[in-house]
């Protein structure tokens, strides 16, 4: 025993590098997070700068609006329809257990839809579809050195690639979410009529919606619409490692945009609650 201890390598002057401990891992993660946040912030600020000062390529924004908006229409309609049905069904089950009174079901559902659920769930859907698309496109441009070619031509890739997507996404996310809310409400009304016998006239009840709900919902639409292209564009621009890297960049774009949406949701909802109060 003691003999073995005497022959430990570090006592012979041959210290092997210590295996990284928890503190090392924690520090590395924190530094990575900090660097990532700083770069994301820089991409965001540069996007805003070029929105104001950049050169306009006329067709680019329209093309991106078609790509982001029209191409996602079918997907958003289907998912929001199913979300509307299941949300109302759950709400009905929940209401049944406390007070078997469905007269306020429609009004509460509509308020919740306008204030939060339409924007957040719709944006999560768009984050998977649009975010993955943006990251894959920009990522493969980075890997095939087209972005370097842009820089050689003195065109900032953020001005040329990200700004049109940013503007298009802000407009089209809002439009798609409004459309998604309509679909979800219609699907909910149908479910209420079939599963809980709530007449359509009772269900379409807007008395609970006020300016606070509308402005919170719209603020969320715009914030998500801005966050998705910035986060996915950042993930796409930081692609490395060839074609395999494009796959990882897509993955990171989806996860990070979804996280951004959830965090923004918490922030905006808290702000809305504090500003407009709980009525």
């Amino acid at each position: 025993m003691t003999e073995e201890e005497g022959h430990r390598p570090h006592e012979m002057g041959l210290t092997p590098p210590e295996p990284p401990g928890v503190v090392h891992d924690l520090g590395a993660t924190a530094i990575d997070l900090f660097i990532g946040a700083r770069e994301l912030y820089s991409v965001f600020v540069r996007t805003l700068y070029y929105v104001v000062r950049g050169k306009r390529d006329k067709g680019a924004v329209l093309r991106q609006m078609f790509e982001i908006g029209n191409r996602s229409l079918f997907f958003v309609s289907i998912t929001m329809g199913f979300i509307g049905m299941i949300l109302l069904y759950q709400a009905g089950l929940q209401a049944k257990r406390v007070l078997p009174d469905f007269s306020m079901l429609g009004a509460t559902y509509l308020e919740l839809l306008v204030r939060d659920l339409a924007a957040s769930l719709g944006a999560l859907m768009l984050a998977t579809r649009v975010g993955a698309g943006i990251a894959a496109e920009i990522g493969s441009m980075v890997v095939t050195e087209q972005v370097d070619a842009l820089r050689m031509c003195a065109a900032d890739p953020i001005d040329f690639l990200l700004v049109p997507r940013f503007l298009a996404s802000m407009v089209m996310t809002t439009a798609l979410i409004v459309w998604g809310a309509v679909i979800a409400f219609a699907a909910g009304a149908a479910t209420a009529a079939i599963a809980f016998d709530v007449p359509l006239r009772t269900f379409c009840d807007m008395q609970l919606i006020d300016w606070g709900d509308l402005s919170t919902g719209l603020a969320k639409c715009v914030a998500y619409g801005a966050a998705i292209p910035v986060v996915s564009g950042y993930c796409g621009l930081s692609t490395f490692g060839g074609s395999e890297g494009v796959g990882w960049a897509t993955t990171r774009a989806v996860v990070n945009s979804s996280l951004a949406i959830i965090i923004l949701n918490a922030v905006i909802s808290t702000a809305g609650l504090l500003i407009f109060g709980a009525k």
Binding site: Q90, T128, R129, A132, V143, S243, S269
Partner: protein, 272 residues
Amino acid sequence: MSSSATESATGSRWTSVAEGTGAAFLGIAETVGGMGVLFGRILVRLFALPPRLDYPELKRNLHKMAVKSLPIVVVTALFTGAIMVIQAAPLVKRVGAEGLLGWAAGFSTIREVAPLLTALMISGRVGANNTAELGTMVVTEQLDALRALAIDPVAFLIVPRFIGIIVTLLVMTLYADALALFGAAYTGEGLLQVDTRTFYNGLTGGQLYFGDVADGLIKSLVFGLVIALASCHFGLATKGGAPGVGRAVNATVVASAAGVFVLDYLVGFLLG
């Protein structure tokens, strides 16, 4: 003359719409069929005696999928709990029943929101990653190499990933349930001045049953099944070199998200 020209133009437009719709449905049928066939092949390996799968690969995948996704699941769950409380706040204030806050936020979190959001995060992180990995292997002909060595690629690569994703999602949903309620309790205290004890009392006060928790867990099992099948199917069906991997990842993410929502409705309706 001109009318016939416009007529033929509208005719061709309608044909192209019909063609597009038909192609879309054929595409969906092809995907669902492919996933079904893959599921059958996985089941054959799983129910053989002894089960034909690679245990070291299973362990590696479980570590990569579950342990490494813990941070994003924790963050998602904590924020989700906070959001649920903020959304339940007006309802609770209107009725004036603070004791109901725990129940109102907990019911929808456990039955619906926690399994759904966890599934979306896991589909984005694990499902997409899995497709990228399998797709790269297919494109670089590593699967053919396995076959040439008489190693069954399904037993060696697919079955461990399939089990890995399902187990990951189930365990992560359990974590997310607990953490979301934790986040919700403290948001309620900080923002609405509802004591955490009142919150937990409302939660356990009789209106929430084990059936509700089981409901969410059954949902997460089904979601895991869809995500696993979609990501393995699109990974194996990758074609067209490096850009094909990007397309496969995109297809996986979209198909998993759509599948999760459609099945959420069906399972929710069936379980009642």
